[in-house]
Amino acid sequence: MSIFILEDDIIQAQALKRLVEEICQENSINYEEIHVTNKGKQIIEQISKSFTQNLYFLDIEIKKSTYNGFEVAKKIRTIDDTGLIVFITTHSEFAPISYQYMVSALTFIDKMTEPEKLKLEIEKCLVKYRQLNQKQEMNDYLFINNSHSTIKVPISDFYYAMTTEAHRLALFTQNRSLRFYGELKEVERTKNQFIRCHQSYVVNLDKICEIDHHNRELILLNGMKIPVSRRLLKSVTDCWRER
């Protein structure tokens, strides 16, 4: 549970460290240590010693170094595939999406933003970091891996999935939709809180807010409505009550 800062400008690095410490104190976030360095290599050596969730603030442009921030991030990912990576850069307008995907970075922070906003941004990252550490069930993912697609969605995000066509699924979270090749059965059997409520719908029981018996609809926490079949209405209601 450590925080790493990669930054070649000593003044900026110290300022960032102070900021992180301040935010952690305000929000009572616990951490083991803050490592500040201007060498990517050092970070990579340090990681192997720690076991829990790490948070990395990486500057993309590092002078006089064999790796820039992006390459360090790639190296980090080979060792630690769950840590949070945050890029810090002077040109956030150029912050490329491809980087973000290649190393699953959390976000980009623009160095040039005003101090208050910068603090807010960093605070967001730290809060996320705390959330991750509190949630020990890190591998609680809905994971589907078939010959045509690989899906990984946090179970706490999953709302419902439906078939759109033979072998075709649409999966919904609060603000995402995924359309891919797959079978509803694959989703249904991943967790027992996922339950079939209709021939072509599987719903996350935790996300049901209300069952409308009259219209035979499930109303989910975010207002989404999905149908329940007559046949399954009773079993869905029972399972939902039990939870």
Partner: protein
């Protein structure tokens, strides 16, 4: 919908020609209701569609019945009265089954049919055919029925001919519109490629002049610095160096990043979209870190899908406050990503409503809306290794195509 109902049910209720057909037609209507909801067909299109299917199916059914009866009578099987009820039922059920199984295909063919140049002619033709079919099966509802019986020997061959023609229409308009689409696409690809090269040339010239001037600028600066002439330094900076920032921050330079795409057709289409977006004053970012040589997907499908997504994004971004459009194209491990991200206005609809056909944040302009996402969904649905992810965040909207490379190699 009411008009469709009367036309379709009008056939059989008068003399009970075949109750099973009525059942078939009823279920067909059910399907029609679905298809209308999905594709947003206009009333005329819907009538045409139902007319065509009803004609084809009724005729096919009556002829199949005749053939089966004939075969049965001439076969060694014992014939009972009930067999003549069971047979039509079996035929009706088989046709119904086929129709349900192939409904998506029929829907697809029909999407082409509506675009075909023969649309109005075939509507007229189908109406006439249905009228004759009605006469043939319910002659007693007409006062001039004896005329019909008189010409029965011509009427049936004529109906046969009409059936053949209807099938031909179906097939031909499908072919024709498909061909037209391909030709159009080739043409636009060529045109887009030309525009792209022109733009590149202009950019190249600009860059060349800049490079040429740059050395001179350095020289003159060098000289003024040596002489410590602050005034001259200021002058050089204001007149020569400052304007160059315009060249450097030229949004259209994003276009040059497309050179990393080694597939000509994709490059040309994307270039047009990027130019278009620049002209609408969007802040365009193109992010293609490495060369793209292969897309592991049908090229036409890919281009169509990507075009739909980018067009939507440009339209949405242009109406938004921040006017941001980001296009990224890259590979991670065994997946190819194509990402389009755009800023959007506050009015965002929930993700699960977005793909429903009638859904659109804008007013419906003559049913034009909905076709884009309809085709997008079809493309996604028939490419097994393609995944589409849609993310709705505050002020930003992202569509991601993920193409699985591995599964293609396995095929």
């Amino acid at each position: 919908m009411n008009a469709v109902l009367t036309i379709v049910t009008g056939f059989f209720n008068s003399n009970g020609y075949n109750i099973y057909s009525v059942v078939t037609i009823f279920l067909l209507l059910f399907y029609l209701g679905l298809s209308q909801k999905q594709q947003k067909l206009s009333l005329v299109e819907n009538i045409y569609f139902s007319g065509l299917t009803v004609f084809l199916i009724t005729f096919l059914q009556s002829e199949l019945n005749k053939i089966l009866n004939w075969l049965l009578i001439h076969s060694a099987f014992p014939v009972y009265f009930s067999t003549f009820i069971v047979l039509p039922l079996a035929v009706a059920l088989i046709l119904l089954g086929l129709l349900i199984m192939l409904r998506k295909k029929v829907g697809q063919v029909f999407a082409y049919l509506v675009e075909s140049p023969l649309l109005y002619l075939s509507i007229l033709f189908i109406l006439v055919c249905n009228f004759f079919l009605f006469m043939a099966f319910n002659p007693e509802s007409f006062s001039y029925q004896h005329y019909f019986w008189q010409f029965e020997f011509i009427a049936y061959p004529l109906l046969f001919l009409a059936f053949g023609l209807a099938l031909f229409f179906f097939y031909y308009s499908f072919k024709l519109s498909n061909k037209k689409r391909l030709v159009k696409q080739k043409e636009s690809e060529y045109y887009e490629m030309q525009r792209y090269t022109e733009k590149l040339e202009i950019l190249h010239e600009e860059l060349a002049t800049f490079r040429h001037d740059y050395l001179n600028v350095l020289l003159s600066l060098d000289e003024s610095i040596r002489s410590k002439d602050l005034k001259q330094i200021q002058q050089v900076y204001n007149e020569i160096i400052k304007p160059t920032s315009k060249i450097i921050s030229n949004k259209e330079l994003e276009l040059t990043k497309l050179t990393k795409i080694k597939i000509l057709e994709i490059k040309s289409v994307l270039s047009v979209k990027v130019i278009d977006a620049c002209q609408q004053d969007l802040n365009v970012t193109v992010d293609i870190p490495r060369e793209i040589n292969q897309i592991y997907l049908d090229l036409v499908d890919f281009i169509r899908g990507v075009s739909i997504v980018i067009d939507n994004a440009i339209e949405e971004a242009a109406a938004s406050k921040e006017k941001v459009l980001v296009i990224a194209f890259f590979e991670v491990d065994n997946e190819l990503f194509f990402v389009v991200k755009n800023s959007c206005s506050e009015k965002i609809m929930p993700v699960d409503k977005m793909f429903q056909k009638s859904a659109s944040t804008k007013e419906n302009k003559l049913n034009q809306r909905g076709y884009g996402l309809f085709s997008l969904e079809q493309i996604v649905n028939h490419s097994a290794n393609l995944m589409l992810e849609t993310i709705v965040e505050q002020d930003y909207f992202t569509q991601i195509f993920k193409i699985n490379k591995v599964s293609v190699n396995q095929l």
